[in-house]
């Protein structure tokens, strides 16, 4: 296959990977600090998408403030979820599985409230009216203004998160909390405040990812639910607790689905409908053989793999 044939999948993979990174990092972060696999994380993405799209379409905001609004919506919802559901549950010493089931409940509630609102407003299938401009071509691949916004946003925010977690005192404390919650509670670390902060960051990133998605494609109330398993895939590839590995995981999912299906279709005639199966197969393999995720690749033989 000539290289030009692969360029569209490659560029698309990078774009999708970046979106997945934005949306999945929060899932990892919240799992790391509170041990909840938050099935309602997809709905945070949906909320962010709707907030951004409605801001653009109804009040004519430009993209940047609309995205900020999307992030704020996601952050607020994430914090509410934690305060209303997960925190009280953890205070009652609920098992991880019960937390997971509770998050499924939260996801059902949020999704159908969004349905109600979207139906009332006539927004069941909308898109943010933001023009995506063509910048140029690389091989057969189009590079658009969206590429230039999403990829730097994902990488930049990841870098910021990295600096926050490694350089700032609060970030270091958050890592300590993720690494050993019991120990963190026993020491002087302000657990409650850190937890709130983590949920805020997680929700904001998910909301921002959703905002970009609203620019990129049509949105509907089940958007997050449909995306969730693949977001979780990025996070699972990151061992569920490792933020850096989740970034890698996001790109593995993005490139796997795009480059992977192109090659599989060209070489083995694999139907396009099996695109998501590539991701799912990776998830099953990783869960089976390396539940700690791709994080071990960076720090072989060391146990320091939280966040």
């Amino acid at each position: 296959m000539p290289w030009e044939e692969l360029t569209p999948s490659l560029f698309q993979g990078i774009l999708m990977g970046s979106l997945f990174v934005l949306m999945a990092v929060g899932l990892t972060l919240t799992y790391a600090v509170s041990r909840v696999i938050n099935f309602a994380h997809g709905e945070l993405v949906t909320l962010g998408a709707y907030a951004a799209a409605l801001a653009v379409n109804l009040s004519g905001l430009s993209l940047l403030p609309a995205l900020v609004l999307g992030a704020a919506a996601g952050a607020l919802a994430a914090l509410t979820l934690d305060e209303l559901i997960y925190k009280p549950l953890m205070a009652r010493r609920a098992s991880p599985l019960y937390l997971l089931v509770a998050s499924i409940g939260a996801s059902i509630i949020l999704r159908h409230l969004i349905y109600l609102a979207a139906d009332a407003g006539g927004w069941l299938n909308i898109k943010a009216r933001v023009m995506v401009d063509l910048v140029g071509f690389v091989g057969y691949a189009a590079v658009t203004s969206l590429h230039l916004q999403v990829v730097p946003a994902a990488l930049g925010l990841s870098l910021l998160l990295h600096l926050f977690l490694t350089r700032s005192r609060t970030g270091k404390a958050m890592r300590a909390l993720a690494e050993n919650p019991d120990l963190a509670r026993a020491s002087a670390i302000p657990v409650a405040r850190l937890r709130r902060l983590a949920w805020l960051i997680a929700g904001a990133m998910a909301g921002l990812g959703g905002g970009f998605w609203a620019v990129y494609a049509n949105i509907q109330p089940a958007l997050g639910a449909l995306l969730f398993l693949r977001l979780a895939a990025a996070s699972i590839l990151g061992g569920l607790t490792n933020v850096y590995a989740t970034i890698l995981g996001g790109y593995v999912v993005g490139l796997g689905e795009n480059v992977g299906i192109t090659l599989a279709n060209a070489w083995a005639g694999v139907p396009l409908e099996f695109r998501t199966l590539i991701t799912f197969a990776m998830v099953v393999l990783v869960l089976l053989f390396r539940p700690s995720g791709l994080g071990d690749l960076f720090t072989p033989g060391r146990s320091r793999r939280w966040i």
Partner: protein, 402 residues
């Protein structure tokens, strides 16, 4: 004295109102639509169209002093067979014997056996699965089977001189059925058709569009037409990606009927999508006569009332509601079995927003007058323009406006 007269008048008045109220007969019509699941975006259009129809019917009945009224009971199918079945069972428990919907073939398949067994007339506005083309059952379908549309597109492709087509379609019952219909019609004439299916639950189809372009390059961009079988959410996304693809920009495109509905054109869709469709001369058929005044009135009223364009299926749902009411009135009592017997004759004489409703032996719409349409620039914006007509009876394609 005056007080007495007043009391008497008031009493009389109340008695009359009471009598009128007592004489009113309300028949329930079940509405099965997808409000959640894969078809969730479509449901409210259908609900609103059915509501509009019943309001119009009520206005008419009131004007002529008829005591008959209809009440819609709207149930969600969740776009699944089980959802369709349970929804119909619930309607049946509430005494419903006449139902409009469901939207998806999956839901229709799930409830077919129950409808037959319990003698409930089911009028689907939109199910097109060939597996439901069954005679003597209680399921009628107002949309022509996709075999007709397939034949129409095949004729158009032949006329445009193509011997190869690459069909890019939704991997669901509708998309696969439509693609197969076109493939069979086109290959019957000695041509070649290739299918490329995509998972319709993705939300984004960039990877699939890239693969479409690659396949097209293999087949030859010049001599291969692209046929898109899509609904609006996936279709717009696909066209949005295709517009930025150098290969697909050079291709000649054809589309299934939804691609010529207003929802694909400005102001409901981005301007750049319209520009792309005009650039690639997107052609295809819409199975509804555009000069139909019923449709024009419906669309205008819908726009005024709901502030947006109705979806193509809303037209069919509007007709389904009218037909359900008319059939009940013709029968003169509320009875699913008798309504089912009367339905084909009522439909035959009916011209609705979605055109004529002559039914074939399987109870599916049979009249196939299809308008050939092409996306064009019109007064600074983009719109579908009719340039011909295909008629199923003769199988001939006429071009008015080359």
């Amino acid at each position: 004295m005056r007080l007495r007269i007043l009391a008497l008048t008031l009493g009389l008045l109340l008695a009359t109102v009471g009598a009128a109220w007592a004489q009113t007969t309300t028949y329930p019509i079940g509405v099965l639509i997808p409000l959640t699941g894969g078809g969730a975006a479509e449901g409210p259009f259908l609900r609103d169209a059915a509501t509009m129809a019943v309001e119009e019917i009520h206005a008419l009945l009131e004007r002529v002093g008829s005591p008959v009224r209809f009440r819609l009971i709207i149930e969600d199918t969740g776009t699944s067979p089980e959802g369709g079945l349970v929804a119909l069972e619930s309607l049946a428990a509430a005494g419903v014997q006449i139902v409009i919907g469901p939207w998806s073939s999956g839901a229709a398949s799930g409830l077919r056996a129950f409808a037959n067994a319990n003698q409930i007339l089911v009028i689907s506005p939109s199910s097109t699965s060939p597996a439901l083309a069954i005679p003597d059952d209680f399921l009628y379908r107002l949309v022509t089977p996709d075999t007709l549309q397939g034949r129409a597109v095949a004729a158009l492709l032949e006329r445009d001189g193509f011997e190869q087509v690459l069909i890019f379609h939704r991997g669901d019952s509708y998309g696969a059925g439509m693609a197969q219909a076109l493939k069979e019609a086109f290959e019957a004439a000695g041509n070649r058709a290739e299918l490329l299916a995509y998972d319709p639950d993705q939300g984004d189809y960039a990877a699939e569009v890239n693969e479409l372009a690659r396949r097209l390059r293999q087949l030859g961009v010049e001599q291969t037409a692209v046929m898109l079988v899509a609904f609006q959410p996936d279709g717009l996304n696909i066209l949005g990606h295709a517009r930025l693809n150098p290969t697909l920009r050079q291709a000649r495109w054809y589309g299934s009927k939804d691609a010529f509905s207003p929802t694909f054109f400005p102001p409901h869709a981005p301007l750049e999508i319209g520009a792309f469709m005009a650039q690639v001369q997107m052609k295809g058929f819409f199975p509804t006569p555009p000069a139909n005044p019923v449709r024009a009135t419906f669309e205008q009223k819908y726009r005024e009332r709901y502030g947006q364009e109705p979806s193509p299926w809303a037209l069919y749902m509007y007709d389904a509601a009218w037909l359900a009411a008319l059939t009940t009135l013709v029968v003169g009592e509320y009875d699913g079995a008798r309504a089912r017997d009367a339905f084909p004759e009522v439909a035959r004489l009916f011209l609705g927003a979605s055109g004529h409703k002559l039914l074939d032996g399987n109870g599916d719409a049979a009249v196939g007058v299809y308008d050939a349409m092409v996306a064009r620039e019109v007064d600074g914006t983009y719109a579908p323009v009719t340039f011909g007509q295909w008629e199923s009876g003769t199988g001939t394609l006429q071009i008015f406006n080359p």
